[in-house]
Amino acid sequence: MTATTLDRPVRTQEKPSMLKTFLSRNGSMMPTFAAILILILLFAGAEAFLRGDFITPRNISALLLDNAYLLVLAVGMTFVILTGGIDLSVGSVMAFTGILGARMLAEGAPVAVTVPTMLLGGAAIGLLIGILVQYFGVQPFIASLAGLFLGRGLAYIVSLSSIKVEEPAILWLQSTRMSFGGWYITPTGIIALSAVAIAAFVLHLTRFGRTIYAVGGNEQSARLMGLKVGRVKIAAYTISGFCAGLAGLILTAYSGAGYPRNGIGTELDAIAAVVIGGTLLIGGRGYVLGSMVGVFVYGTIKTIISFMGAEQSWMQIIVGALLLLFIVVQRAIVARSDGRR
């Protein structure tokens, strides 16, 4: 036994260097920092390429407003992915709640009824997915696939074609511009930013939020630690569904209409934004602010492509390549932290 008796100082740490402390505390932030770096590089590159025409208050403001619905979807998706799940339904649920709202308003329902119905409709589909996942043990992929079909089909049942929204209260959300110098923001932008702020608060400063991380880190452990795993998982899908409902509201206000074909493939954009923002798809690691960065990276690429007049197809290829890059980076991080143990 003497051979293995190492006099390792396991108990105390000699004053570690600042960097080491930082790394030991914030290793999981690395992918998010990488996303921020990519965002800065994109900005700098576009600015240089377009000779100073890119970073203008107008463009940056537009970046938020054009992607407000995606930001809200990404916020909900972050909750689900943090638990180690996935939600494929958000694009079609957004379309469903959007067209539902437009139809209700066209039929004369008051805003005070319509908007809560949209939000609760989204949350209800999320709840259904959560129950399938938790109580029936259905894989999140398949359960949310059912949600995807359901949302899309319901959207077409509500209406096969687009419905214009005339309701001033809804249009107000998009048309009101609060300007500060060249900067401006609309209520939709404020809603999206509030969603990020509330989510950040919930995830980092409530027991519920921390349980989400614990479940994603190790569901078995979380259960053995006496945490309410089932409830938290169902809540995560319900939140994602609610966010999809909210995104439906924003998109309806943004486009001034409900359209059942909205959001086809948007769930993939939301997943890509969340992953690019540094959230690990295996769950337990990531930040909702990172998801916001991911959405901005996504939005910036889109803007640059349209500035350059390049084909939109590059968008999908670049996002796919970025996704691959981040998956590889994440695998390396996970492999390293596993290796350390």
Binding site: V138, Q139, L148, L150, Y156, L324
Partner: protein, 350 residues
Amino acid sequence: MNAIMKSRLVWPASALILLILVNTIARPQFIKITVRDGELYGALIDILRNSAPLMLVALGMTIVIATRGIDLSVGAIMAVSGAVALTIIDGSGDPGNLATVLIAVVVALLVSLVLGAWNGLLVSVFGIQPIIATLVLMLAGRGVALLITGGFITTVNSEPFSFIATGYLVALPFAFLISIAAIVAISVIERRTALGVLTEAVGINPEASRLAGVRSRGIIWSAYAVSGVLAGLAGVVYASNIRAADANAAGLFIELYAILAVVLGGTSLNGGKFSLAGTVIGVLIIQTLESTILFLGVPSAQSPVFFAIVVVVVVVAQSSRLRSDLTKLFRRTGAAPAPAQDREKAEVAS
């Protein structure tokens, strides 16, 4: 063995027969097959013909799922394959030339093989979760297809190319014959060689298979490659049917329908034992359901609701089995009697 296969196929087969019966009662002409110029026509023939792309994709998906994987990129591969084939035909001086069409199809299939192999590389060598690994190509693939077609919907007027989807050979639709050929080829490859049983072994118990000396890496890789080629062929059939390469619409949602077909056919998403016959029946159920929904006058856009219901019913029906697999994850583990396997697992783990 026969008894097991039979019992596994009883439910999907009776569902299919029930669907056909209901349709026949509602509209007797459903079952009618007419012969015109030595070619067969009728609702059932249409189902067989139209199911070809889904059939091809679902066959590949079955093999991938048997390895405990999933392939989300099949729709994107269809789009790329169609784009490649049509761009070659369109670019050639003589679109009606049989040789041109053959070259186009072969090149499209080779490209699909490469894409499938790429998925296999990510999964089997880099060890990335299948859902994520194939998501990359699912996202980027359509972009590649758009690039190939230059962002347009390339249309061609090529007699030999149209024949693939709409032509007839020995009284049967050529597309259906392609399905049959694929079913036979895959069955032979999987069941006449040892590939099928080794695939199942890897899917059921990867660690036991490794210790038994099975080359699981190569087997998983081959599954994705096969899935890629079949998706490519499906893309060709699809493009031939609409005589165009539509990078956005080609194979949209087909991965979801293919997964549904596999599950309907009795193959578990947890991998392992797979049934190609079950998948064939699953595809026919989906296609017949689609045709039924259309007949009912429901706009096809609304059909996803029916499929959502089917998915929920199927997964909830299967859940008692899934549940036992996941018992130890449930809160009241002790209350529900768990099968011995899980108990033993828990025993070993602690």
